[in-house]
């Protein structure tokens, strides 16, 4: 029965290699060094450094999600749901910003 085959191998998915995980780690460390460097040595670029720090953090988050959390190889449903959560958060964000901009 095909059912038995299904049970004996419930995980038929992509296996990330050690090498790939190590490469991901190297990338994340480099991004961390970059953001610390910009913050500590680029002190006169205040607003720019906040924006870049958040941008770098988002790139790091994306790398963690895609490679460590395996989103890149998983079915699209997880990425779609992540997109919905991010859209929801953006709605909250925009509503809060409008609220504070229109207060006197």
């Amino acid at each position: 029965m095909s059912n038995k085959d299904h049970n004996s191998e419930p995980h038929a998915e992509h296996i990330s290699s050690y090498r790939e995980h190590f490469g991901t780690w190297v990338g994340l460390i480099l991004l961390t060094m970059m953001t610390v460097f910009i913050s500590v040595f680029g002190a006169d670029l205040r607003t720019l450094s906040v924006a870049t720090a958040l941008l770098i953090a988002s790139v790091k988050a994306l790398v963690v999600g895609y490679y460590f959390m395996h989103l890149k190889y998983d079915p699209a449903i997880y990425r779609i749901m992540m997109g919905i959560v991010m859209a929801l958060f953006t709605v909250f964000l925009v509503m809060v910003i409008f609220d504070y901009l229109t207060r006197n």
Binding site: H11, I15, S16, T24, W25, A53, L54, A61, M69, M81
Partner: protein, 207 residues
């Protein structure tokens, strides 16, 4: 009459896909929990920019950087432990999980010293020095203690979760063919890392 009939998965109620989807649903709620706190941070910071900047000088950038590296490394070891178990190497998987727990403990010890220094300087909400601070700096410390505290709680929970998984790999209920629990603990651990990725620049790097 002898009716024998077998349910599709009789004997093992194991459904890796459902288990993983459930874990992700929980992680989405966690993202919105911290997302709400980040919105609070955004509003109060935009109203008190100078005060937040001044208050942030009380934090040690290098301790924060060290903890960031520790968490990123532990994220790698937990991801590698999944690879090890998928390849059938339970021993290596357990070793990598112990490394992850060790990283969690290092993170908490560094946090202990950081928080300890704040307590010594009377910066915890309610302490004498804290009460003399201007409102903006007080807000910064409220948010700092609440957000890093909640994150620290997640580190502790994640460490315990991984400990449970180690136990289950040892008694073989988590194995090469049934490793979803390990993957779920890994996902939780990556979430802890993910939140720190944002906490670190927002509290330590505003210079």
């Amino acid at each position: 009459m002898n009716h024998t009939f077998t349910l599709p998965n009789s004997g093992h109620n194991y459904d890796a896909k459902a288990s993983k989807l459930g874990m992700w649903l929980f992680l989405y709620t966690e993202l919105l929990l911290f997302g709400g706190l980040f919105l609070v941070y955004m509003v109060y910071r935009s109203l008190n920019e100078e005060a937040f900047l001044l208050a942030s000088f009380n934090l040690d950038v290098w301790m924060g950087t060290f903890n960031t590296v520790v968490l990123l490394t532990s994220s790698m070891t937990v991801a590698m432990s999944i690879t090890a178990l998928q390849l059938g190497d339970a021993k290596k998987s357990i070793m990598l999980l112990w490394l992850t727990i060790a990283a969690a403990l290092i993170f908490l010890v560094v946090k202990y010293f950081e928080w300890g220094a704040k307590f010594e300087h009377g910066l915890f909400p309610g302490m004498d020095h804290f009460n003399t601070l201007p409102p903006g700096e007080r807000l910064y410390f409220y948010l700092y203690f609440f957000m890093t505290g909640l994150h620290g709680l997640h580190v502790i929970v994640g460490g315990i979760f991984i400990g449970v998984v180690i136990h289950k790999i040892k008694n073989k209920s988590v194995n090469k063919n049934r490793y979803q629990l390990l993957e779920n603990s890994g996902l939780y651990w990556h979430l802890v890392d993910l939140i720190w990725i944002y906490l670190f620049p927002l509290f330590y790097l505003i210079h």
